[in-house]
Symmetry: C2
Subunit: 134 residues, 2 copies
DNA sequence: TCAAATTTAAACACTTCTGCTTAACACTCT
DNA sequence: AGAGTGTTAAGCAGAAGTGTTTAAATTTGA
């Protein structure tokens, strides 16, 4: 089985970056263009995000499906929906209105355009009142 | 950017498995063969392992390169090498001989054949004496 | 403002992954 | 021995990822 998500190229670039080198310097060292170093570094960071998302998903396995935030919904209406559904299930949500919205946006920046939900977001809740999105 | 590592198919299978369904039952539900369900589940678990490995790598970024365990080396000789190198760097290794070997094998089962190192293993150490392999 | 650093986009070959089928094999029950 | 469950292997078509180059755009700092 293949090891991690990161290619050797990507690890190499991340290590040099950690040492404080510029993309140009790295490009010279590994004999390619600085644009390519940029691409590789970006891919590496994306892979790291994907790794985090993947493990995050595991939590949703322990959590129950709470509701679906449909595409087009106003983000500010999400908390009320979530609180209502959680109450039906007899679980107290761990977040207040403000931090709930922040958590939504932070957990999934790409899924929102301004105040609007771009595509359906599944909401899960565990018995501690923690929320997860998928 | 693509979200996590897991495909919808893989998430679907993991969810049903979590519910306690057999591969055959899932195969019936999602209309495919049980062999395929097995393949999908296996791929899912591999992806989860890869996600863990990826984040594990990040620790090596904070760690310094300690030494390389060359392919063909006897695994039992690894601790002495590591202790010697760590001493040179003035860092105390967090593991005793036995747990060090266990950690080596656990962190990277595929890289060893019996007592022999199959391919080069890079060893990193942080200031706490924690070891990471890459 | 100027130059360096970084980011983005498009296109291209190459490789890898994914889901799928079929068929065989192993293990554990009763 | 037979049924149920899980695993493995080979092969295939379609999708996605990787490293590259070239060229243009944007951000940043002095």
């Amino acid at each position: 089985m293949k090891q991690g998500l990161l290619t050797n190229r990507q690890k190499e670039v991340l290590r040099y970056r950690k040492q404080g080198l510029t993309q140009q310097q790295i490009a010279d060292i590994i004999k390619t263009s600085k644009a390519n170093v940029c691409t590789i570094e970006k891919a590496a960071l994306e892979n790291i995000t994907r790794a985090r998302d993947t493990l995050e998903f595991l939590y949703t396995l322990d959590a129950a499906h709470l509701c679906t935030l449909k595409g087009g919904l106003d983000l500010l209406k999400a908390p009320e929906i979530i609180y209502t559904e959680a109450e039906k299930m007899g679980v107290k949500v761990k977040y207040d209105t403000v931090s709930l919205i922040n958590r939504l946006r932070d957990a999934n920046p790409d899924r929102f355009r301004g105040r609007q939900v771009r595509e359906d977001v599944e909401v899960y809740i565990n018995e501690d009142g923690d929320l997860y999105f998928g």
